[in-house]
């Protein structure tokens, strides 16, 4: 089942671990804040809580270079934060303010982007991520710039036709592309096992003659190691890898989802909070201190985002074309 090739694994050093933890804590504080905000305010978008799945995004992005391309379609904001975006533009985007990374255009359904650090943005049609990521991977291959592209998606999106159309070509052309599936076993409210022929999404890899790797998605370091291996393979011109991280979706599909399709109490018995798992690797007291710092940072970012201006009608025709 685990097809990971034998290669030396690089583990994160103490500085990187601390940065991962801090970013995971920032992500978690944003989760908590958004859950409250959506309850207390009229929120014009949809918030898809990612609590419990943070290790996937934090661990994977820690293994990516700043100019590697990230195309994400997951829940929460662990990928954008992990890749290096600050809390303030992310919160400002969610609140629809001009200080957001999309300057007020991408409010609601997050489209956080910062191409200067490889956060390419998000499309709202699930499954659009595959060919887009293959596009940047192809660009890298033609330019020989050594960059790798990662496509993040959930188990529910793995059945899209574009998954296959893209991987057929990526594998044939040995594109520097990594597929990263966050499998929380639920497609909104449908159990994955009812609509999938295989236990693991990673099992599809065999059909493309590429490695399929299953990894513990609650353990950021395990994720980091798997992605490091896959990226090394891609940079060496050996082609794509399909990584599947088993993650736990702590909240509902959307904020306010009553989750009647789940026996949440039973499931919670097996839940390992990724913050705890990662925190256990830090020095004594370091986790608590980083957690507190992250909370302050998020509170300040939230206050700044709330105080920022809303876009007015002058933005309506901006960003339609370049040069206009």
């Amino acid at each position: 089942m685990n097809n990971s090739p034998q290669s030396p694994l690089a583990s994160p050093g103490p500085a990187l671990l601390a940065q991962m933890y801090r970013r995971m804590a920032v992500t978690r504080h944003i989760e908590r804040l958004m859950a409250r905000h959506v309850r207390e305010h009229k929120f014009s978008g949809w918030w898809h809580p990612g609590e419990g799945q943070e290790a996937a995004g934090i661990g994977a992005t820690a293994a990516m270079a700043v100019d590697d391309y990230l195309w994400y379609q997951g829940r929460g904001c662990s990928w954008a934060i992990g890749k290096g975006m600050a809390a303030e533009p992310i919160l400002a985007d969610l609140l629809g303010k001009v200080t957001g990374s999309t300057r007020g255009k991408g409010a609601g359904v997050p489209h956080w982007s910062d191409r200067s650090i490889g956060v390419m943005g998000e499309g709202a049609t699930l499954g659009s991520v595959y060919p887009l990521a293959a596009g940047s991977a192809l660009a890298s291959k033609i330019r020989r710039d050594g960059r790798v592209s990662l496509a993040d998606f959930g188990d529910g999106t793995a059945a899209r036709g574009t998954f296959h159309e893209t991987m057929v070509h990526a594998a044939a052309w040995k594109l520097p592309l990594v597929y990263f599936c966050e499998n929380n076993a639920y497609l909104v409210g449908t159990k994955l096992r009812d609509v999938s022929p295989t236990e693991n999404i990673a099992d599809y890899a065999a059909g493309y003659h590429i490695p399929g790797v299953v990894v513990d998605g609650q353990d950021a370091v395990a994720v980091y190691e798997a992605v490091t291996t896959a990226f090394a393979r891609a940079r060496a011109g050996e082609g794509p890898t399909l990584i599947e991280a088993k993650v736990f979706r702590r909240q509902g599909h959307y904020a306010g989802d009553p989750q009647q399709y789940r026996d949440i109490e039973a499931e919670l018995k097996h839940y390992r909070d990724p913050l705890d798992v990662l925190g256990a690797r830090l020095e004594d007291g370091q986790a608590a201190q980083l957690y507190a710092e992250a909370e302050t940072e998020v509170q300040q970012a939230y206050a700044a985002a709330q105080a920022a201006a809303e876009p007015d009608a002058s933005v309506l025709y901006q960003d339609l074309y370049h040069g206009q």
Binding site: Y69, G106, S128, S136, L138, T162, T166, H322, Q324
Partner: protein, 329 residues
């Protein structure tokens, strides 16, 4: 023919511009079915031979992948070109073209330069059937963020291809199936460019304005010649670009002639002609002697049977009759 002109086919002219630009700009690459083996863009040497397998890629039959990889590569700073074979296939790649390519920059509040040329040949070929013969250009008009060109001559095919490859915005290039092998005078100049957004008055006249593009241009010019003998002097405008549409040229003409007829091969209902006619009457109502008329294909899927197909498309006789009707109102 003068030394600076050559008599070549429409598709060949497109390919000529592509090759010339690929020589100048190594961020341009081409993909599609059969491009490496020279299917569409036949040059003497072959594209792959000159530019290498990295920049000329054959793909599977995967329209969604093709369009999506074009969008992703363009966002990542390359200049991809894809020929998707048939305008009808735009529907297979709908999300990738009309959401991703068109809307990505707007959704993310960042209008960085993004060059991508998606070639969608449109129109009937004489019996190719309802899923290979359609004209999808109105879809491209309806999703703001794209530019849309519709050359009707070989020279314009070359000039607009160059313009599209230098345009910092995604361009849907609707070449004409019917005109693909029509030869015409094309400047040899390897800087020859036709600006996107500029219509051409193919025939000046004073009695009525005929607004058309693509495969219908030759038919409209034939109609104009025929009706000149009947004392009707038609002005024929070849739009060349649908987005952005050259409204000033169209409206100035209608204000002079006071009558307008839109002719396109696409199905009449909700075709590009509907938008053009609506806009003319909005902006030039008090200059009109008569309502704006439209000619398009019948509101049916095009039959595979070539003779039946011809009955559904605007013919020279049909266009002439509509023009005469316009003059009688």
């Amino acid at each position: 023919m003068a030394n600076d002109m050559q008599n070549i086919g429409y598709n060949a002219a497109m390919s000529q511009a592509l090759v010339e630009e690929m020589r100048r700009d190594d961020s341009i690459f081409v993909l599609g079915q059969g491009v490496a083996t020279g299917g569409w863009f036949s040059t003497e040497k072959g594209l792959a031979a000159e530019f290498g397998a990295d920049r000329v890629l054959d793909t599977n039959i995967s329209e969604a992948f093709q369009a999506g990889v074009v969008a992703g590569a363009a966002i990542a700073g390359m200049k991809p070109v894809i020929n998707m074979g048939f305008g009808d296939f735009a529907l297979i790649a709908g999300d990738e073209i009309f959401h991703k390519l068109a809307k990505w920059r707007y959704m993310h509040g960042d209008s960085f330069p993004m060059t991508a040329v998606v070639i969608f040949p449109i129109g009937a070929m004489g019996g190719a059937g309802p899923e290979h013969s359609g004209c999808s250009e109105v879809l491209s008009m309806h999703y703001p963020g794209l530019k849309v060109v519709v050359p009707a001559t070989a020279a314009d095919a070359k000039g607009l291809m160059r313009a599209a490859l230098r345009e910092p915005n995604p361009v849907i290039f609707h070449s004409s199936q019917a005109l693909g092998w029509t030869k015409g005078p094309v400047p040899v100049d390897d800087e020859y460019i036709v600006p996107i957004g500029k219509a051409n008055i193919a025939r000046a006249g004073s009695g009525a304005t005929v607004i058309t593009y693509g495969s219908m241009l030759p038919r409209c010019l034939q109609v104009a010649e025929r009706l000149a003998g009947e004392g009707i002097d038609l002005e024929v405008i070849d739009l060349r670009t649908l987005v952005p549409l050259d409204w000033p040229t169209v409206l100035a003409s209608v204000r002079r002639t006071h009558r307008a007829l839109v002719v396109h091969e696409a199905v009449r209902t909700a075709g590009a002609g509907a938008e053009i006619a609506a806009r003319i009457q909005e902006e030039a109502f008090y200059d009109l002697e008569a309502p704006v008329l439209r000619v398009g294909a019948l509101d049916v899927p095009l039959p595979q049977h070539a003779a039946l197909e011809a009955m559904c498309l605007p013919s020279v006789d049909g266009i002439a009759a509509e023009a005469r009707k316009l003059m009688s109102l």
